[in-house]
Structures are given as C-alpha cells and as structure tokens.
C-alpha cells in the first residue's frame, strides 16, 4: 500500500504548528510517532495535503513535577518513557499498568502519549484498506451512509480503543491544548465526545501539548485490565482501569473506575465513586460496581470478539481489578 501524496511540514514551535494547522484547515493532519497515522494513511483512511510532523518541537516532551505537585507529561513523551519513568511509577501506578499493555514494545518506543489520547476510533468495518471499503461500499463514517454495526442508525459506533485514556480518567487528568488563541486546559473526561466520527473536542487548529496529573491523585492505588486475544500487539477488546484511595481501616476514601474499548469514548463509571467511597471491601459491593461497569459499557460488533463476551469480561475484569487494587495496595 502506498502513502497518499502530501507535503510534510516540520514546525519547530507549538505556535508555528498551530499556525500551519490554522492555515491549512481540514487538509492538515498531525503526525507524531506515526504508529496509528501511518497505517491509516496507507489504507487511505486519511488523505491530508499537509502532514504536520510535530516531533521537532522539543517543548512537547518532558515528564516534570510542576508547582503544586502536579505531574506534567508532554504530548510527545513516548509510551516507553512513561512506563520507564520513576515519577510515574511511584505516583501513578495505574498509568504504568495501562501504558505497558499498549501494542508491542516497538510501537511503545515510537508511539506518544498525545497520539494515544488522540487515537482514531476503530471498527472492523472502517479500519480496512481502500479496496476493502470500496468492495463494501463504505460505511457511515466514510464513503457511505450505512452503519454496518447498527444498520438504520445515524450514529457511528466505532470504538475508542486507547489504553492510556481510562487510566488517566481515574487520575482526574487534564489536557493542555494549544490553539490560535493560546493554551487552554480541559478535563480529560470532557475531551471525549462518545461519537465514533467526532471523537474528541479538539478544533482543527488545535493540538494536545501535555497532560496534567493533579497532586491530589498521587499515590492512588490502581491497575488496568485489558481483554485481548494476544498478550502483545492487540488493541483492547475491552478494558477497565481502577484507582482507589483506601485508608488504614480499609475504608475507601476515593474511587474511580473507567472502561475502554466498549464505547466510542473511554468513560468513567459514574456510580463507582458514589458507591465505593466510605465503604469497606465486600464481594457484593464489588460485584455491584462491576454491574454498573457493564451498564456503562455498550459493546457492539465492532471488533473480533462478540459484544456478549466483551460485556461479560468487562464485569469480570472490573471485579478483579477492584479486588486487586483494594487488597494489594494496602499502605
């Protein structure tokens, strides 16, 4: 498969990058590690006129503790750098747990956090070659008007398939976004729109520059469970991230549960903190939260495994993740 013909721009600063984005309009596209973009270019899912390679922008990389004890992770930090970072390891274990499962080692060496948070949504009927889609006649998301997952519907169900986002949701992360009018902050939970086509709240002339992890979530015990067929390479078929604060008496003081790969967005399970905070561990409580997780997750036939199985596993994995976080992370 060939690459579509396009110009590559290599801005040196965020301002320059934003200017190119603003000038080129919908014809521009950002590329960083390229692990998601390049295959999609080869499949002609994207045919940009300008590919904005942001790797030369040095300000976009760096894992640093900022004023007030928050952690700033640059959009260009590779996934491997995050897994290997002592700062992340000691303060935000759920993030390490999740990022370590992304794709395989080669992709983690190339892929960036910003890229993983801006992944294209995935669907078996969409992530296919130009020829394949032509034989199909397209789908709602591209080149057609029928959703093959939910025929008759007007909504695209292509699934959010990132692993880092659910972990960051459990850490109350914020995005730093640069645009023509400067920089803005946005809670990660508001970044995702739960729409397979318009997946993120990012203007055409905007780019993600960093992620902030607040000081108040330092030390939350947590972990990520991922349903996949292979132990490497695979995108998640379902995933759940859990972060808890548990006091000396075993009472939960703060809790987040987020699910991924079962909706067009990574989503927090809203009931989790409400039900868990102030409680001690019990199998019944954990099962109740697991039931809430499968009400939040609505898998459809977008990937290799069936919706029934993915829902089922979401329940099992949520329960296991909560049990492990609660029991293993004892201070």
């Amino acid at each position: 498969m060939t690459m579509p013909a396009c110009r590559v721009a290599r801005p040196k600063t965020v301002e320059e990058a934003v200017r190119i984005l603003a000038d080129s309009g919908p014809e521009a596209m950002i590329i960083a590690g390229g692990t998601d973009v390049v295959p999609n270019l080869q499949m002609k899912l994207f045919t940009p006129r300008v590919l904005v390679d942001i790797k030369p922008i040095r300000a976009l990389a760096g894992i640093t503790m900022v004023a007030g004890g928050a952690l700033r992770i640059g959009a260009l930090n590779t996934l491997t750098e995050i897994v290997d970072s002592p700062l992340v390891q000691s303060n935000y274990p759920v993030l390490v747990s999740a990022v370590a499962t992304i794709a395989g080692p080669l992709q983690r060496n190339m892929g960036t956090l910003g890229g993983n948070l801006c992944l294209e949504t995935r669907c078996l009927w969409y992530n296919q070659s130009y020829f394949w889609r032509k034989a199909l006649g397209g789908c709602l998301k591209k080149e057609g008007d029928v959703c093959h997952v939910a025929p008759g519907g007007a909504r695209c169900w292509a699934v959010w398939s990132g692993d880092s986002a659910p972990a960051l949701l459990t850490l109350d992360a914020e995005m730093e976004i640069a645009g023509p009018r400067g920089s803005r902050r946005l809670p990660l939970a508001k970044f995702y729109r739960n729409d397979g086509i318009y997946r993120v709240a990012l203007g055409r002339d905007e780019m993600v520059t960093a992620v902030f992890l607040p000081a108040r979530t330092v030390g939350r015990r947590g972990l990520y469970h991922k349903l996949r067929i292979r132990d490497s390479i695979d995108y998640p078929l379902a995933g759940v991230a859990v972060a808890l604060e548990v006091d000396r008496n075993g009472v939960c003081r703060e809790a987040r549960v987020a699910v991924t790969a079962v909706n067009p967005a990574p989503l927090l399970v809203n009931e989790a903190s409400e039900w868990l905070v102030g409680q001690k561990y019990s199998p019944e409580l954990v099962e109740r939260v697991a039931q809430a997780a499968i009400r939040t997750g609505k898998p459809l036939t977008t990937s290799a495994s069936t919706p029934v199985y993915r829902r089922d596993m979401l329940r099992v994995f949520t329960r296991r993740a909560l049990e492990e976080a609660w029991k293993n992370g004892r201070d």
Binding site: A5, F131, A135, R230, I233, D234, Y309, M313
Partner: protein, 774 residues
C-alpha cells in the same frame, strides 16, 4: 565406521548470515533498470459476470506502460492437471472478493494504484455461495459451469468391513468437528519480478516453493517455450504451502512484462496475500470411531467436507490426504472415508503445513481421548495398544518402513510427567496427549510421469571447490544447509568448500519443489548418490596416483587417506586436480525417484498418501484454563518427533518448534473470519498468530528410527508435528475443566459457553479457577 563429520551436527544454516545482515536478497529486494511496478485490480463482488472492461482511461494516465486483462492471457492453468480452472485475470466471471480482474504496470507504485481506479469493469452480480454445506446443494449459479453442484471432487473409500466392525465394537463415539479457516502468514508477502530480456527471453525471480511448476505454467500462459524462460528463486521468507502452487502475481508480472516489454515487479500487500490464500480450508468432519473392550480401534468412518473456495488448486489432494492419513497412524483394520471438496465464492484454499492431515487429526485424536475415557483407559495406554507393527502395509496401501511412534509416545509421556499429572492436577489445570504423522514427500508426482522427482549435479573444478547444482528450493526450512551437509559428509570436505547453486532453471536440474516435506528425503538421496559418484572418481584417481586399491581409501576433513597405510594421505585440492586430470572433468549427477513399492494401491485416489517414508509425533500439552474468562494459558509442550535421523538437530528442533507454534495458533486463536464472502480480518493485526508471549516452553525431543531408505536414515521433520498440537491442546482443556470443544479455534468464548452449559446441566455451580493467573 568412524562417526560422521557433518551429519548429526547442529550446524548453523548456510544462508543465515545474509538473512541476519540484510545482505540476502528476497524477491522484493530486487530492482533492475527500467523496472515498472505492477498492481492488480481485484473483484469487489464475490460472484459476478464480467460484461466488459474499459481500460482506456487507465492506459491514458501518464506513467502507465501496460494494462492487462483476461484477454491478454486466456490460457487456463492450475497446479493439478485435473484442475486447470484459473486464469491470471478473470475472463468471464469473478468468483470471490479479491479475484484478479486486470493489472497495471506503471513507472511508480502510486501511479499503478491510481490507474486501477480508472479501470471500468461492468459487473453483473450473481448469487454467491459462502457456506460449503449450502453450496454443495446448489442447483444453479454454479461457480464453475463444468462443476455441477459446486462439488470440485468427491472420493469414497472403504477398506476392510467398517459396518461389521462397528457392530462388534464395545464403545463407539460419533462427533462432528469444525475447523475454521487458517492461513500460512509467512513473514514474506509474495513478490515476483519478471524481466523481459532484450533478446526476447523472460527471466522471472519469484518467491516460490515450486520453480518447476511455475516454469511450466508461465510457458503455458505466455505461450512461450520453456527454453525461453528462466525461473530464479531468491531467498524466500517462509512458504508453509502458501507458495507451493502458482500464485496469480507470478503469472501477472510476466504477462505485464511481455506486454510492456519492460521488467515488472509485483509485491502483494498483506491483504492480497490473504486473497491469494491457498490456506487450510474450513473443514466439517463427521467422525465415528469404534473401540473393542480391549481398547483396540476397530473401525473409523469419516465424512469430511472441505470449503475449498473458488478454484481447484490442490483441493482434491487436500481431501485425499485427509482420508489417506486418517487411519494410517495406528493399526486400524476397517476404514470408511467420504470426502467432499466443495467450491464457494471465497479465496482458494490449498496446501498448508500438514496438508490435509491436520483437521481430521484434531477430530480423531479428540475422539480417541473420549473413547479412552469411555473405556476407563489412560490416553497414553490406548495409543500404545493401537500401534502398527512396522515394517508393514496399512489397510489403505501405505508402506511403512520405519515407525518411531512408540518411542515418541513413551518419551513425551516420560518427559512431561504424564503419569504424575494426568487427572491429578488441580481443577483448572490439565494435560493432554495426541499423536500425528506425515509424509516424507509424495511417492507420486503431481503430473504423472516416470521422471526422477529430483536431480542434482555436482561439479568440482581445479580450484577444488565443490559446486552443487540443485533444483531444490530453500524456503527457510534449511534445504540448502542439509544438502551441503550431505555432500560435505560424503566427500569428507569442510562445509566452506561446498558452493550451492539452487533453484535457477537455467543452471539447476529439475526438482519438483519444496512441498509435502520431500526435500531432505528426495534431494538428500540425490545428493548422496551424486556425492558418492564424485568420491568414487576421486578415490580412483588417488588410487591410481599412489598405486593403492581405492577400496582402502576414506575421506575426511579435506583429506583422502588410506585405512591401511598411514603414510598415504592427500589433501582434497590435490586429489580433485588428480581426478580432473584422470577423468577429464569431475562431474556427477544424482537422482531420486520413489520405489515402485512405495507408490500405493490401485483404487481411485490411491496416488495421494503414499510416501517412501513417514514421520511420527507425540505431544503432551500442559495448560491452565481461567474458568471465569475462558482464557487458556499453555505452560509447556513436550513434542517428540521421529525424523528418522536428525541430519542437523538444530534445524530439526527449529522445525518442531515452528510446527508446534503454528498448531498452537490454529488451536487457540487463528481464524479467517468471513461475512458474505468478505474477509473481515485481512491483516496480521486482526488475524492473530501467536506472539512470543503466548508461546510456551517447547521441549523438542528428537526420535531417530533410522529409515532404511532415507539419506543417512533421515525422513520428514518440517510438518508432522503440527497436527498433534491441536488435539493435545483440546484434550488438555478437557483434562483441566471437563469440557470438550469440537470447534477450532478453541476461543475463550467457546470454553466459557461450554462451562456454563455444563453448569446448567449439573444444576449448580462448578468450581472456579483463575487458571493460575499471576
């Protein structure tokens, strides 16, 4: 006799340095001046009449040098003489999504791709057939007019008296098994460079396992004499059967090159590899096995339907192998086999590692496990009771010359700790055993003839280099290395002295190809014969020069010496020159053709299955099942394989491990997923071959039965182990959690469904196990 100097040594492969440094050239690495890039237009319909094709717009695109359609090369071809149903580009009908309709050669790949979009094809869609059981009931819209009812071929065999034997059986099991479709997933996608030479000849570099058949086919399709065509096989990055027949691009590139009068290279995308396919077909096997009270297998009856896809390919051979090897692993006196190869509107299936034997072996070994359970017998013991007594001829006419299966079973059981583990591990963890076997080359060629199956030439010149000219195709399995080892051993020279010229039809004699695990046995025997001839000539010259009897001479470590006279010693360089002076030239030819007695019975379809020799395997798998998720973790596989004699234990172990790995993929996770003839996972992201993380420790045990006819006793090593892995996994899952999955791949979802079904039937909860999850 002194021990061997090269045979039995774990020598590294001769082509490894080129491969690991990147200096070695695969077909896609080749470029020549003026080379064009070819791209193929594939059908978007699973079944459609082609009313017209307008290529004018594509031809007008700057940079396009040739556009070819079916009219440019209408001659049909196919690997089997009875199955010439393919054309390089569809002439009248497209028969699957991905079928080849036209092709473009242009000055860049981008232009060629753009030109494909400018070709207008006027299709008339036809009703299509996707399900083999439905397809074989078709009364209209047949995929090939000459194949009414969409049945490519059916065979009905009966040996002994199965009906009576079933009536006399104490235990009978009847089960339906399903195996999903799998593909080879060789690392190297197919690639062909066809060079139209200035003198009007054609040179084709291609990723093939079968240069000889490619040579014939290009001659037929391009209407050129074979003498004007040269086929060269560069390094090949894995075949596994996927390159063992002529693949459309191998003909498309020459057709384009001839039309453009320019060199044309076509390299498939991974998706196109899936459409070219030739993998293992969806198989529905209804199996019935009867057992006596003493645990003797009395009879086996099988009805096998294979979903062959849209073209014949190797289909009839696949379905015949399924029958021929079904009953021949053990001593089974009564066998009935009904095999159907069915056409559907999907890519053509073909030969894949363990050709035809794998899915029926899954069925048989799973059933045998159940019968052992019914009879209250240990699965190892039941296999012990049903061994052949070699040498012998099986009930269906297969000649067995050596039979290391008993030793394979004993060693696999012993090294896996079978006796301590079977039925004794905690719930959720289990062990399973299964066996398999495979041919060491087919005793009958694809095209009936009396020509040798392989010929090699050796030339030694005054530089004392030993050049072996062999048609055998190195595809990563180690054929070059093994042949060099055999020649070095016989001549008593160092490996470095052997130069190999392989698989180049202008230079090397005919070898039928690298399929059915034939090369070590057949080309090996030819090398042995040629090298012995050279050695005799050298000894004659040395004897003459030193006035001794040639019978006292031996060769080793680059010296010829006398066993009687310690003073008589001549280095190989001197001896070679002496031999050239004495004989005028130092050349020899070796050939191999299977003996008449090995060629099988006389019934219809008897030609497939016979081999000069068979390999044997026994494997024990230990695994855990997570009963909440259905996920399986394989801990260890002990694989014992009888390869006759391990000429190179390093490469034999590599082949055993590779076979086990592939079997494991088919057992647990690999499957081509279809939706109305559309392949939903035509990529290595979504078609999930195992990674190193799911691949357990594999302990390979080499069993040497020393075949009387194999070179130095050697026989097959590259395929036979695969088929045992799958049922060993299925049997271990049964041992672990008590459910039997008769459908491949054995996904977590299937296991979970079976566990819940069992729970429901018991009306209560079954024990939970997380499968030893960390």
């Amino acid at each position: 006799m002194a021990s061997h100097s090269h045979i039995g040594k774990p020598l590294p492969m001769t082509d490894a340095p080129g491969k690991v440094t990147g200096l070695g050239k695969y077909a896609d690495d080749l470029t020549v001046t003026g080379m064009l890039y070819g791209k193929i237009l594939h059908s978007v319909h699973p079944h459609a009449r082609i009313r017209a094709i307008d290529t004018s717009k594509a031809e007008a695109l700057p940079g396009v040098k040739a556009v070819a359609t079916g009219k440019d090369a209408p001659n049909p071809y196919g690997i089997l003489p009875i199955g010439h149903d393919e054309r390089v580009f569809a002439l009248d009908k497209a028969r699957y999504i991905g079928d080849n309709v036209a092709a473009v050669a242009a000055t860049s790949a981008e232009i060629a791709e753009a030109a494909l979009d400018l070709i207008d094809v006027d299709y008339e869609p036809l009703p299509a057939w996707f399900d083999p059981l439905e397809s074989m009931q078709a009364t209209s819209n047949w995929i090939h007019e000459q194949k009414p009812g969409n049945v490519e071929k059916e065979y009905h065999h009966e040996f002994g008296n199965p009906e009576q034997a079933f009536a006399e059986s104490a235990f009978i099991r009847e089960e339906r098994y399903y195996a999903g479709e799998v593909t080879h997933a060789a690392m190297e996608p197919h690639s062909t460079l066809a060079i139209w030479e200035p003198d009007g000849r054609l040179t084709v570099h291609s990723s093939t396992q079968v240069p000889y058949y490619l040579h014939r086919t290009i001659a037929e399709v391009c209407e050129m004499p074979m003498s004007q065509i040269r086929i060269i096989k560069p390094l090949v990055g894995g075949g596994f059967g996927g390159k063992s027949e002529v693949i459309p691009l191998e003909v498309a590139a020459p057709v384009l090159a001839k039309k453009a009068r320019r060199p044309v290279k076509i390299t498939y995308t991974r998706e196109e590899v899936f459409y070219a396919h030739r993998g293992r077909p969806i198989t529905i096997a209804d199996l019935k096995v009867g057992l006596t009270r003493e645990g003797k297998i009395n009879a086996v009856a099988a009805r096998v339907v294979q979903d062959g896809g849209a073209y014949c390919g190797y289909g009839p051979v696949t379905v015949l192998y399924s029958g021929a090897l079904l009953g021949a692993l053990y001593d089974i006196p009564n066998v009935r086999y009904d095999g159907y190869r069915v056409l559907t509107n999907k890519p053509a299936c073909g030969a894949m590692r363990g050709h035809g034997t794998v899915n029926v072996r899954f069925a048989f070994e799973s059933t045998l496990d159940q019968l052992a359970h019914d009879a209250g017998m240990d699965p190892v013991e039941i296999r012990r009771r049903n061994l052949l007594k070699a040498p012998c001829i099986t009930v269906n006419g297969l000649r067995v010359t050596s039979y290391g299966l008993p030793e394979c079973i004993e060693k696999a059981a012993e090294r896996s700790g079978w006796a301590e583990k079977k039925g004794k591990l905690p719930y959720g963890r289990g062990v399973g055993i299964a066996c398999s076997h495979y041919v060491s080359g087919a005793a009958n060629p694809i095209i009936r003839s009396n020509m040798p199956h392989t010929t090699v030439n050796i030339k030694v010149d005054r530089d004392a280099a030993v050049t072996l000219f062999t048609g055998a195709s190195e595809i990563g399995q180690g054929s070059d290395t093994i042949q060099a080892q055999i020649v070095a051993e016989v001549l008593g020279v160092k490996m470095e002295r052997i130069k190999l010229v392989a698989a180049d039809t202008d230079l090397t004699p005919v070898d039928l190809g690298s399929y059915s695990s034939r090369v070590t046995f057949m080309a090996g025997n030819a090398c042995l014969e040629a090298a012995k001839n050279i050695r005799a000539q050298v000894f004659a010259a040395v004897a003459k020069k030193s006035g001794c009897d040639p019978a006292v001479l031996e060769a080793r470590d680059d010296f010829i010496f006398s066993t009687r006279d310690p003073g008589l010693r001549m280095n190989f360089d001197e001896a070679a020159v002496a031999a050239i002076d004495f004989h005028g030239a130092l050349v020899a030819t070796g050939t191999y053709a299977p003996p008449e007695e090995a060629r099988g019975g006389k019934h219809k379809g008897a030609g497939v299955g016979p081999s000069p020799s068979y390999s044997y395997s026994a494997q024990v798998v230990e695994l855990s099942v997570d009963t909440e998720t259905g996920q399986v973790r394989v801990h260890r596989i002990v694989a014992a394989h009888d390869c006759g004699k391990a000429l190179n234990p390093l490469t034999v172990e590599g082949q055993i491990e590779g076979s086990v790995y592939m079997g494991l993929g088919q057992a647990l996770q690999e499957e081509m997923i279809w939706n109305e003839g559309r392949l939903m996972n035509p990529s290595l992201l979504e078609y999930r071959t195992p990674t190193t993380l799911e691949t357990p420790e594999i302990e390979s045990i080499i069993v040497e039965s020393n075949d009387p006819e194999g070179p130095f006793g050697a026989k097959e090593a590259g395929e036979g182990s695969l088929a045992a892995t799958i049922p060993a996994v299925a049997n271990a899952i049964y041992d672990a959690v008590g459910v039997r999955i008769n459908s491949l791949p054995i996904t977590p979802e299937k296991i979970l469904a079976a566990l819940r079904e069992k729970e429901k039937q018991r009306g209560g909860k079954v024990a939970r196990s997380n499968g030893g999850r960390r």
